[in-house]
Symmetry: C2
Subunit: 131 residues, 2 copies
C-alpha cells in the first residue's frame, strides 16, 4: 500500500494555500471524476464501475473509491452475503459536486473541436518557426 493518498501533498503541507486547490486536489486524480459520474445515477456495484469506466484497473478503482469514501463523497455498503456484494452511492455533497461537474463537461463537449483545432494550429505554427 502506498503510504500517501492521491494528491494530498498540497493540502497537508501548505495549509494556507488556496482552499480551491485544496479541495480540487481531492478530485484531481485520473479517475475520481469518472467514478463520480458513473455513480451519479444511483448505487453501483464494484464490478459495474469496473466495466463502465473504460481502462481503469482494479487497483486504481479500489484506491479511488477509498479516497472518495474517505472524503465523504461516497457511501459504501457491504452486504454480508456470498458471493460478496458491495455497492457505492454518492453522498448528498457529492451529488452537489456532480451538478458542478455537469457544467464542466458541458463546456468540454461544446469546445472539444475548437480546442483541438487550436492545438493543431499552435503546433504547426511552432513547427514553421523552427523549420
Amino acid at each position: 500500500m502506498q503510504t500517501s493518498t492521491l494528491s494530498d501533498r498540497t493540502a497537508d503541507i501548505v495549509v494556507q494555500a488556496c482552499p480551491v486547490r485544496e479541495v480540487l486536489d481531492r478530485v484531481a486524480g485520473k479517475w475520481s471524476i469518472m467514478v463520480i459520474i458513473a455513480a451519479a445515477d444511483g448505487p453501483v456495484r464494484f464490478t459495474e464501475l469496473e466495466r463502465s469506466i473504460d481502462g481503469i484497473s482494479r487497483r486504481m478503482l479500489t484506491l479511488t473509491l477509498r479516497n472518495l469514501e474517505r472524503d465523504g463523497l461516497l457511501h459504501r455498503t457491504v452486504y454480508p452475503v456470498v458471493p460478496p456484494r458491495v455497492d457505492y452511492e454518492l453522498t448528498p455533497i457529492a451529488r452537489e459536486l456532480h451538478e458542478s461537474l455537469l457544467s464542466l463537461t458541458g463546456w468540454a463537449q461544446r469546445h472539444r473541436a475548437t480546442i483541438s483545432a487550436a492545438r493543431t494550429a499552435y503546433d504547426s505554427r511552432r513547427l514553421a518557426d523552427a523549420g
Copy 2:
C-alpha cells in the same frame, strides 16, 4: 525543453477515450486552474501572475501559460518595448470555463470543513481498527 507537454498522454494515445477527460486533462495540471482564475479579471503580466499565485515557479508558470495558449484558452500579447512587456488574457472560451470553475470553487468553499472532518473521522476509524 521537455518534448511532451502537460498531461497529453491520454488525449494523444487513447483517441476514443471519454471526451470529458480528454479536455479536463488539459486543465488538470497543478497550476492551470489557478492561472485561469488569476487572469479572469483582465489582462495580466507575467510577473503579476508570478506574485499572485503562491508557490509557483517561473518555469511552471511559463509551461502552464504555453499550454493554455496552445489550447486557445489564453491570448498572449507581446509589446516591443524595453523592458519587455507581455500580457495574458483569457479568451472567450476560457471565460466560459471560468464560469464553470466558479461553480466548482463555490462547492469547494461550502464543503471544505465537512470534507476535512470526514477525512479525520475516516482516518481515526482506520486507526482504531488497526490498533
